[in-house]
């Protein structure tokens, strides 16, 4: 049997169910991008689609379709779209449905 069981019994401490708080270093993890939809233009989005190596980005009229599942967090879109695209900082992305990982971002929201 694993030692944690005896350690827990000996110290009378119940081990945590999941990290109580997320460690600060996790902010350095590569994470999928998040978009400032008001700063996106159709031309910029088409450039982002071109630099994406993992087919995570697509455009349907004036919506950017971002497939979080396909994203490899390579950050090329963050460099290409500096100012309009940032790190999301989210890495707890597990989903029970594939379609929950498809995000639609309205291009130019607010400026129209």
């Amino acid at each position: 049997m694993a030692f944690w069981f005896f350690r827990g019994l000996g110290k009378g401490i119940v081990t945590t169910r999941y990290p109580k708080a997320i460690d600060p270093w996790t902010s350095a993890l590569p994470t999928p991008p998040a978009f400032h939809s008001d700063r996106l233009t159709i031309a910029l989005v088409d450039r982002l689609i071109e630099v994406c190596p993992s087919r995570a980005l697509a455009r349907e009229h004036n919506e950017l379709i971002f497939d979080v599942g396909a994203c490899s967090a390579c950050e090329r879109c963050v460099q290409e779209g500096a100012g309009a695209v940032e790190h999301s900082g989210v890495f707890e992305l597990a989903s029970t449905r594939r379609e929950h990982l498809l995000k639609r971002v309205h291009i130019g929201r607010g400026s129209a």
Binding site: G69, A70, F91, E92, R109
Partner: protein, 163 residues
């Protein structure tokens, strides 16, 4: 009770059972091994997945959950299906990483391109590779001990400011 409701009830009971402890079998369907390196890290002291009741097992017959990495190369079809069949019911399949979710390789003569084209997938864990914390979160979502968070996210910073 309809078949769907019955299936949902069975699934709920299976998850309640797995919520306590569960054994994991990993299957590599052609990954670059970085996902495996992160999966190995789950046993390291900072993550210590044993404290959560998860254990790795070398045999699919002892497994409750299959952790599948890689883009499902066709050469692995037989091994993958045999592993799936050898895993006793009820079982869960977790697809790990951008390859397994269809991000990196397109479907062609060599790869299926995504694990869910071959097996029914219960939980998708994105990332290239997913960090051990992301994997832990995925495993806990798979057994119903944590809620998934991604469904509520928009990845639209402007929309978040408005809210």
């Amino acid at each position: 009770m309809t078949d769907d409701a019955l299936a949902a009830e069975l699934r709920r009971r299976a998850l309640a059972l797995f919520g306590r402890s569960l054994h994991i079998r990993t299957v590599d369907t052609g990954s670059c091994a970085v996902c495996e390196s992160e999966i190995r890290l789950l046993s390291a002291p900072p993550y210590d997945l044993h404290r959560l009741g998860f254990f790795f097992t070398p045999a699919p017959r002892h497994a409750d959950l299959l952790l599948i990495t890689g883009p499902a190369v066709r050469a692995m079809d037989t091994a993958l299906l045999k592993t799936f069949e050898a895993t006793p019911d009820p079982k869960a399949v977790v697809a790990v990483g951008a390859c397994a979710l269809g991000g990196v390789y397109e479907e062609d003569g060599f790869v299926h391109g995504a694990v869910d084209r071959v097996l029914p997938v219960d939980v998708y864990v994105p990332g290239c590779p997913p960090s051990p914390l992301a994997l832990l979160h995925g495993l806990l979502v798979a057994v119903g001990r944590l809620e998934e968070r991604v469904a509520a996210l928009t990845f639209d910073l402007a929309a978040e400011v408005e809210r």
